[in-house]
Symmetry: C4
Subunit: 319 residues, 4 copies
């Protein structure tokens, strides 16, 4: 009977993590570097797939501004065409004669209406154009109301920015060893009531499937992440990594998954974030260099955020 069957007996397996098994073969990561799950979703129609508000508030700022400009241009082009269709004699105050200039003048009139600037030199004088302009102004207001909501949604979305050490390390710990990694808050806002949960995801040679185990932590909760937090999984009898050589670990192609939860005091909301380390990101025999010290004037604690991943090579105890 292999060591993996042993593990299977010792731990409650798989399902309660919600990550399934079997599909995720050796070499793949469950968690992408941006903290989202490495899952390809198929079998949905286009309509089922889109989710406008979700996309509007999660897209990059560059895309968002581009989208806003494009929509503004397209809406103006549509209304410009409609004013042409109705006939430009319905608009008074037009001065341009030449066709490009005229087009831009009508386009600008439309833009002035959509934005509700309404200078009024050019303005609708007959019924159709008047009603169309009223509708355009209403549409402008509604689009702008939408824009306000979306911008607020983008801003107010609590997005914890945590710093993670580039590597997890295997470190000496209380006469044994431990798996450690270090996190800190990249922002100045206060993260309190922090909780960490760590899953050990590995390839089960025997069944060819990947397995998930919830592993124990020295501390799973802290009051506040005001400094750094070194998350420590002691490699003792209860650990799936207990007694493994570096090569045995490599064969398991492990992925250590951190699920982090805290209360963000600025937004008064609970935030969640995730991170994972694969075998290549685990360093065998190292310890973290301290990243906080007394500040020079002696009045505060100085947290050096650029040291988050700094390690020092050390020997591991012979077990």
């Amino acid at each position: 009977m292999s060591r993996f069957t042993d593990l299977q007996k010792k731990f409650k397996f798989d399902r309660y993590t919600g990550f399934g098994s079997g599909a995720n073969n050796q070499g793949d990561r469950l968690l992408k570097t941006d903290g989202t799950f490495n899952v390809l979703r198929t079998g949905q129609s286009f309509i089922e797939r889109i989710s406008p508000f979700h996309q509007l508030i999660t897209m990059s700022w560059g895309h968002f501004i581009l989208l806003a400009l494009s929509l503004f241009t397209v809406l103006n082009l549509i209304f410009t065409s409609l004013y042409y269709l109705i006939g430009l004699e319905d608009l008074t105050g037009i001065v341009q004669k030449e066709s490009t200039g005229l087009f831009i003048e009508v386009f600008s009139f439309s833009a002035q209406t959509l934005t509700t600037v309404g200078y009024g030199r050019v303005n609708p004088i007959n019924s159709y154009a008047s009603l169309l302009a009223s509708l355009e102004a209403l549409l402008g207001l509604m689009s702008f109301a939408l824009l306000t909501g979306v911008l607020y949604g983008r801003f107010s979305r609590p997005n914890a920015k945590l710093l993670f050490s580039e590597n997890a390390i295997i470190s000496p710990f209380q006469e044994k060893t431990a798996l450690m990694f270090r996190i800190a808050n990249q922002r100045k806002n206060q993260l309190i009531e922090c909780e960490a949960q760590v899953l050990f995801n590995y390839h089960d040679k025997e069944t060819g499937n990947r397995r998930f185990i919830n592993i124990d932590l020295e501390y799973a909760k802290i009051n506040a992440l005001s400094l750094s937090w070194t998350i420590v999984h002691p490699i003792d009898e209860k650990s799936p990594m207990f007694g493994l050589s570096i090569n045995e670990l490599k064969e398991m192609s492990p992925e250590v998954i951190l699920m982090f939860k805290a209360f963000d005091d600025t937004y008064a909301q609970v935030i969640h974030t995730r991170h994972s380390y694969t075998f290549d990101e685990i360093i065998w025999g190292a310890k973290f260099v301290p990243m906080y010290k007394r500040s020079e004037n002696g009045k505060a604690t100085e947290l050096e955020l650029n040291k988050i991943g700094q390690i020092q090579r050390v020997d591991l105890p012979n077990l």
Copy 2:
């Protein structure tokens, strides 16, 4: 003594679910297909019944846009009438003579004021019209402020879209059988810390009432709904379905009610949703076809959402 009296002795009954008993006779569903309760509310006056914001954010987009257009038109008609009442000589810049054209010109002036476009060709020249126009512009701004709030409310309301298997199934499970159904997240946003609670709602022949029992699940919590989740109620000694034939089950006219709760990582809010299966939606002797696999390029797990309800007929063990 009937089997139902037995059940009654074995389980803590009814009241703690909040769904009452007695009123809901055989053949009725407690939970409508949209997840709301099948309850008719009477005995309230019109004023007590309405709840404007709630209705504005839960009505369909079609109704919402229609309502916005109607309100805009009605407000403009009211102000147009008021300008007529004051006398059109209070407005300068009017060009239309014919009555319909004139009406539309005044209506458009009102619309330009309400939307704060204010081209200004037509504008109030005497005191009453000036003050009325000021008031209309203020009203326009306030309506628009309302609109912004309501639109944001509509968008930001967390509305989990879960996919449920069309049927619940009775499936072989660990040498016995189990009641199973399958859920997945229709959206790309991350649902974490998911919890399921399942109620078994049935007709108690003896008392003529309907009863509710909280039934056990193999797993009631998962870390993340990144793939699909098959919710499993093992039919063992502790199950109210234990030892029932398909006909006995039918006589109980059961409704299996799922109450689902998760943390939505995009909106940073807890979301709840509900679903139920009646006897006609329970298939006796089936298992779910796997709905995720390794993706073609081998780099991710592919979740095939259209397979959510796909089953395969199987024989059940003879118990």
Copy 3:
């Protein structure tokens, strides 16, 4: 030794409720009928007392609209004065000569600027008036941004509207008696994961102080408040009301305080509400009339909200 000293020994008293003791003498209610605490706050300066956003979102709609109109008028009067101060020759397009008409024309120009309508017939032609108008338009936009936020705050504030039975009753219950009252949701939105906590607040004859006791409930949690919920405090050995005659209860001048908590599915927020019953609102010997039944078409449960407080007189068991 009196019965009150006995109670004091049997129950953990006072402080953990946060309501203190001693100050609240016989005849006073702790909880006002709107669910706020009957506490007069003194010793704060005016500045410490005000809390603008809190007041803006909790004041009545009537007051809110009056306040908005007043502010709009005052701001316009201030800017009108400033335009007069700069000199009306800085404004072009003015047509009124007579002083009242002129004043209203300037006032309306100011209103057109503040609301950003800007018809433009009257407009600033010299530097000071131009800059003042720019500032006024900016102020208008900022006020309007504020207004939008406050309106959204007013609307989105979760405000559970519960119906409470007008009276609490002493009712027969499992061969003994129980204190009961009944609640239902006045709104159509779904209230789930409901929790009730009931405090018994009474006058302690011996010390002259008021005391608070957390009393037991038959069920303190229900899954959903889709129908009505009768909250039941069994009057057994563990109850401070055990063995009391109606006169003994009256002497204690009791106040039964309900603290209710639920998750509102429409707003995705936890809501809290409170209610209390004093001695005069407790009926000795009654039971609630059922308030839900099968609907006429037999397809749903009908909840008759106007029956929330309907009772029927019954005899209590002789204990």
Copy 4:
């Protein structure tokens, strides 16, 4: 072996508070008076450090208004320059000849466009200026949408304002002594389900490090903070302060840290706040003067907020 080593054996130390040890030497406070942690964050680039929304909603109102005015001026200056660059012959309706007056006229036209007032006396007549003005109006709308969101963010941010007694006191308590301090709600909104956690932070002579201990409270939760709450840490065998003389306490340079959490009923949000007392703020031998009483008309409880810190000197029991 020193008393500190003893403590170390008796209590679970340090790490689970998240505040680290070692760095924070004697004489420093962990918690600044505004409730933020006394931590200096270094090693981040400028880009990593900034967090625009967080800064916009936490800066003072003075700074915020100054920033808004500056941005408005700068944006207008940029667009003014662009109109000059395009050529003022593209704008019609300009009346000023003299260079300063002309500049202000163009600047004001820009402001009228950015705020969407658009009087229209001055307005763009050629293509480049027309398009630039359209863009400026769009930018104006977007800035304003942003402003609305930020203003709402500033207002809706739940910011509990608690009053803390100026001093913590050592007071007689149940034949021994206790460390006490007193809090009250400065606002009228209801704070319910309140929880307090108190950390004792002291200098460990032996190691030269600072240590953190979670200390016991008489009551750690109360139902509602409707009056005042005296938080009591009994100094018994389980207390790190047990048996210490005033001088021994001084040598430990203690900091008593309160972490407070409550549900704010107005905003329907959980709020957190923090406060700390250093040795100089702890009074040896005192008790708090009552701060609530029956109101004069006998109808309510009067809470005198200005008495929050009033104490009376008392002798401590000889232990």
